[in-house]
Each structure stands twice: as C-alpha cells, then as structure tokens.
C-alpha cells in the first residue's frame, strides 16, 4: 500500500525527542550549501553532522537562511553533531559546534568513537575513562546545550557498561548498518534497551574523509 511521504515516520527517543527515520548524512558531501537548501525544501528535517566533518559552518549558514526565509522552524529541525576522538573534551567540542552551527542547542550530541586519539609511541588511545566523559555529556544536557546524548560505534559490551552507571541513558547508537553488515545482535540489544539505532553508510558506500583513509585517527 502506498503511503505519502508527508507521513514520514519518526522514531521516539528515550529522551522524548522525535527523530525522522530518514535523515541527511552530511559527511564530506560536495556542494553542501545548495543541496541542504533543496533538502530542507523537499522535507528533510533530520541533519547529521560531526565536528570532524568540517562542514558545520556551511550547515549553520544553510539552516539559518532557511529559518530566516520561513521555510522551517528550529523546533521542527533535528540536528545531530558529534565530538571527535582527540581527548573527548566534550564541552569544548560542543561549544565550538554550536557556534559554527549558529545554534543554541543541538537535538542530539554523540561520542563519535569510543576511543580517543591513537598514540603511536605508547600504542594506546588517549582519552579519559568513558564514565568521566559520560558525566560531562550529562552536564551538557542539564545546561540545555543538547536535548539528548548518545554514542556512535559502540558494541554491546561497551553499552552494557555505560548503562550500568548512566544517569541519562544513551538515546542512540549510530553504527554502520547495511545488507552486508546486518548487525542483528547489536540492534536487538539496543532496541531492548531503548537505544535508537541510526544507520550510517546505509547503502554500503561512503566518501572518504577529506584527510584520506590513512590518517592516524579513527574516523
């Protein structure tokens, strides 16, 4: 049975927010300003970005223009951004993102990868323990800088640990999913625990990050 796409479905987050089922993954897409304008015009409301994509300023300009022109209201948009590895300095990263995006808050703020920067010398990752980072993420919600918090690229084991101490539970786990990587167990676990799945590279393809595939960080 055909359903009009104006009846676009949403996922209800444990935080209370509504996440449109089809979002626009910005990654390093070319000509983003033009394409975002068109995306908003035809009905996209969920826009996914990250500090590492280096496109938050372009997105900020595009959404601010769309809002000024009355095409969309802030409360109808769902904007996600992520703190990149580095040292998981989440407050500094979110403040920078908000400034670039010209926003007072994002709808969802994610830890991009469970690990920080790779230190070649010691052959370890540099980051504080996740419980320390998560506490700082929770503080950002309390400060009103993000409506919801979540994670990306977390496996079941990491989520079990996080759920054991989280005061604010992760609203989402953004992971790679497509027909060659169906992620049955991880999806089942997340659904059971009210953690929404957001699938990146859903078609099994991606653009390389601007710095190329061999940089020294997770991407």
């Amino acid at each position: 049975m055909e359903k009009g796409y104006s009846q676009q479905k949403y996922s209800e987050l444990s935080s209370g927010g509504k996440l449109p089922r089809i979002g626009y993954g910005t990654g390093s897409a070319k000509g983003l300003d033009t394409i975002l304008e068109e995306a908003i015009s035809i009905g996209y409301r969920h826009i996914d970005t990250a500090a590492i994509y280096g496109n938050e300023e372009v997105i900020g300009k595009a959404i601010s223009k769309a809002m000024k022109e009355g095409k969309v209201k802030r409360e109808d948009l769902f904007i996600t951004t992520k703190v990149f590895s580095e040292k998981h300095d989440v407050a500094k990263s979110l403040n920078k993102s908000l400034q670039a995006l010209q926003l007072d808050y994002v709808d969802l703020f994610l830890i991009h990868w469970p690990v920080g920067d790779w230190d070649k010398e010691s052959q370890t990752f540099k980051q504080p323990p996740l419980h320390v980072t998560w506490k700082q993420m929770e503080d950002l919600v309390k400060q009103g800088k993000c409506k919801a918090i979540g994670v990306s690229n977390f496996n079941v084991q990491l989520l079990v640990d996080l759920l054991s101490y989280a005061e604010i539970k992760p609203a989402c786990n953004q992971i790679e999913v497509h027909p060659y990587l169906v992620q049955e167990d991880l999806i089942r676990f997340c659904k059971k625990n009210n953690i929404e799945i957001v699938a990146y590279s859903p078609l099994g393809s991606s653009y390389p990050e601007p710095s190329g595939k061999n940089h020294d960080r997770c991407c």
Partner: protein
C-alpha cells in the same frame, strides 16, 4: 601565480577525492535489482526501505539532487517479511569503515 597554481592543484585533488566513493556494490546485488524491478523502485530505495522496515533510522548521504528526493521517498512502499529476509541474507559482516590499514584497528572495541 604560484598561489593560483597551488589552489588549482588543491581543487583538482578535492575533485579526485570526491570521486573516490567507497562502495561495497550492494546496489548491484541480483536480489536487490530483482526487488527494485518488482516494486518499480531504485536499488537504493529498496535498501533504505529494508532499513526502515527493520524499525530504525538511516542517514544516507548524497550530493546528487535527484537522489535526495529518491532517498526521502523510500518509505512510500512496503515489502513483505520474506523480501526483507532475502535482503538480510546478503550479510557477510563487511564494513565500509573497516580501518584495516590503520595500526590501531585491532584496538578499537567495535571492531574487536
């Protein structure tokens, strides 16, 4: 002059990088093509519909205007549970972002 040449080189490099789309080729799978023909949809719409039918969110990226609408309209039809299962059967635990060529790969929990 030197600056102009340098910026041109950078621009060419960016153009080349943008064309290097990593693709696992799922849109060329016979089962996906067969379902696309059956439902009169594109292979990408079939795959996105598979995600939505499984009950979660997908964030496709594209820099092609026509694909924007195509992706957004991927929930305007329904596939049967059998058709969804056929697509899921393509699983081979292959990643786009496998980080295989990075020295830390074995230490990232999600890949362990």
């Amino acid at each position: 002059m030197a600056v102009a040449i340098l910026s041109l080189q950078v621009k060419i490099m960016i153009d080349v990088v943008d064309k290097l789309i990593i693709s696992l080729g799922i849109t060329k799978e016979p089962v996906v093509l067969e379902l696309a023909a059956k439902h009169n949809k594109t292979p990408s719409q079939i795959i996105l519909n598979w995600h939505l039918s499984r009950g979660y969110v997908a964030i496709p990226r594209t820099s092609t205007l026509s694909r924007l609408r195509e992706n957004l309209e991927s929930d305007t039809f329904e596939m049967t549970p059998e058709e969804i299962k056929k697509i899921s059967a393509l699983n081979k635990n292959a990643r786009v972002w496998d980080l295989k060529d990075m020295e830390m790969a074995g230490n990232v929990p999600v890949f362990a």
